[in-house]
Amino acid sequence: MGFFLTILTLVVALGFTWRYLGSYMAAVFDGRVHFLGFIERPIYRMLGTSPEQEQTWKRYAGALIIFSAVSIAFTYVILRIQGSLPLNPQNQGNVGSALSFNTSVSFVTNTNWQNYGGETTMSYFSQIGALTVQQFVSPAVGIAVAIAMVRGFARRNSATIGNFWVDITRCLFYILLPIAFIAGIIFVGDGAVQTLAGTITFHDALNGVIQTIPRGPIGFMEAIKQLGTNGGGFLDQNSATPFENPTGLTNFLSIFLLLCIPFALTYTFGKMVGSVRHGATLLAAMVILFGVWVGFTANAEHQNNPAVAAAHVYSPVGNMEGKEVRFGDTTTALFGVSSTMTSTGSADASYDSFTPIGGLGLMSGMMLGEIAPGGTGSGLYTMLVYAIIAVFIGGLMIGRTPEYLGKKIQAREIKLAGLAALVMPITVLIVTAVAVSLAVGRAGPENLGPHGFSEILYGLTSQGNNNGSAFGGLTGNTPFYNIIGGIDMLLGRFAIMIPVLAIGGSLAAKNVVPESLGTFRTDNGMFVGLVIGVILIIGGLTFFPAISLGPIVEQLSHLRFF
């Protein structure tokens, strides 16, 4: 009963933000919101740019790549020299080079894969100045790319698709900062920690225990961690720890924050292209996939854990291994699906201890390319790539040149869309094959049997999709996993963004074909079905063999333990 009320509240809250945050974001990127002009204008002056200076897609992509490279360098340097920087009450040493590389790539690509335990590795300076900063910047970059692509559909005969610097500045100050700050206050008001005072030690006279507890500026990092679909927490066990996620209310707020922008961007898209109905069509496809995944994953987690049941302890409340009492089984599954079908990757439980089908729900949510609703920005542009492919397939079936929103989809766009859709599966499957072929790769998993393979597959799928969640048993802090994971994350981010921007540029240059009776409709239930079909066929078929070696074998090996 509680679970259904949770879902109902979530639907109402997200419906509200879909409509109003969606149209607000459209206004922000159209340049109709100015209340922070006194901050915005000096920034443009310092950058030597202005909203009137529009960029071609190539210049837009160039600015994005160089800014990302500089961000990686900044993050890397801070981690490498944190021992000599201030705000380090626990005297954490400098972070090693392979781990710094992996971590800086991870936060700049919106992945937030963590091969370290935050409380034993990072100084407050690193958490604030390196990691939290990128938790703002990386979603802004993702949203900017999505908006630039949307402008490709919205504009006619245009050589330009916007200004990268203006787009990220507006996104940072008008969208991410205000929402994150308010959410941060709610997190702390409900129990999350926010202090710069370092650890605290006390002696409990009742049971004679002495505890030393790590603290830090956690609550406000938590807010942007969820809102920006980042997922990298202050503490090792992320949102499972009470200092990050103290109550059922903050848990719900986390789920809401990480879903609100990705869903609302479909409204922004509809508004900007002049057909909210088209936005609602994409939203419908996302909601259906998301609902199915929540359903079967929550059902799987409501079952007994096979290994615990084998010890003859049966659970009336589902699989509690690795879960927190205050969240419960089904809400934890909802959190997990929300986190893996966006590019968030935060975790309010140990995903490694999910039942085989529950773990499959998380893993396959990423394998579909994170489109339902996907990451901040990346969800919308990946969904649009699938919509273009669906339009193409629909066009083949009825024998007409495919069009989407009046723009002819031709060989160039299809090639780019094909590239964008295939980069992730190819990268993930190749790096997984490399990892299981090498002794250094096979040394990673903690669990034996099919679950060991699942740990490797999950880790590399997560990084290739810029998700960042993990089957935590994988020991990732080795030179091999740090480097192969870094490459995986870079390809999963930029090898998709660049073709997406190229599609935007190429569409912006086209004129609009007037709609006729024979035009293939892209705003009805039929198209929703077609898009879902394309996503399931591409994602499902490419990954099915790999999945069957992991979670499916695990589910079927009845009464066997490894």
Binding site: G2, G62, F181, D204, A307, E321, E324, S353
Partner: protein, 199 residues
């Protein structure tokens, strides 16, 4: 190219200032002003309400397991993780889960060892009492987890089962807003209540 590079460096510095320092310092200031108790870790004189402790004596209600406690009964399978490193006297460590998979032989054996451990204490364990949490220091148990421990606590302290049942009912927090998450009991608060009953 050079223009991009110059703008990138300027933008990176702007972001460091606004979204690193101003955001974190302003946030800390607001948090410390409005909610000092929460912002500093919900500390009471016996510890944080949000961090589980190792309650090993039968005079107290126990929390969920970790390997410095009940797993010690199964020394062979002391796994990395699954412990409560904050308990390890004085030295601070990481939050950690066992990360054992659903068909892990180790998880099965650990669970069997935990059942034996509880039986020795005269408790018929519920699911939460034989599984480790996601954080490794879950501060909470459910009302049923506390109820099954009544015979153990009653024998050790001499407090009647009826007053322990009343205490448990008083200490049970309902889910937030009645439906977000699950109802729970904070073990530290429960034991502080128990200490008052003993006086």
């Amino acid at each position: 190219m050079l223009v991009h590079l110059r703008r990138s460096v300027v933008m990176a510095v702007i972001c460091l200032v606004f979204f690193g320092f101003i955001y974190a310092f302003a946030g800390t200031g607001v948090a410390q002003a409005l909610f000092p108790f929460h912002a500093n870790g919900s500390m009471t004189k016996n510890g944080s309400l949000l961090i589980g402790q190792n309650w090993s004596s039968p005079k107290w209600f126990h929390g969920r397991p970790d390997d410095t406690g009940p797993y010690a009964a199964n020394a062979k399978n002391n796994v990395a993780g699954g412990d409560n490193p904050l308990v390890a006297n004085g030295s601070h460590g990481e939050s950690a889960a066992t990360n054992l998979g659903p068909r892990s032989l180790t998880l099965k054996e650990n669970t069997i060892a935990l059942v034996k451990y509880w039986h020795k204490l005269g408790v018929n364990p519920t699911i939460d009492l034989v599984t480790t949490s996601g954080s490794g220091y879950d501060p909470d148990i459910s009302a049923i987890d506390a109820t099954v421990q009544i015979p153990m606590v009653s024998n050790a302290t001499g407090i009647s089962p009826a007053s322990l049942r009343t205490l448990i009912a008083q200490q049970t927090h309902s889910a937030e807003w009645g439906f977000l998450g699950s109802s729970y009991i904070d073990v530290l608060q429960l034991n502080e209540g128990l200490a008052k009953l003993e006086k």
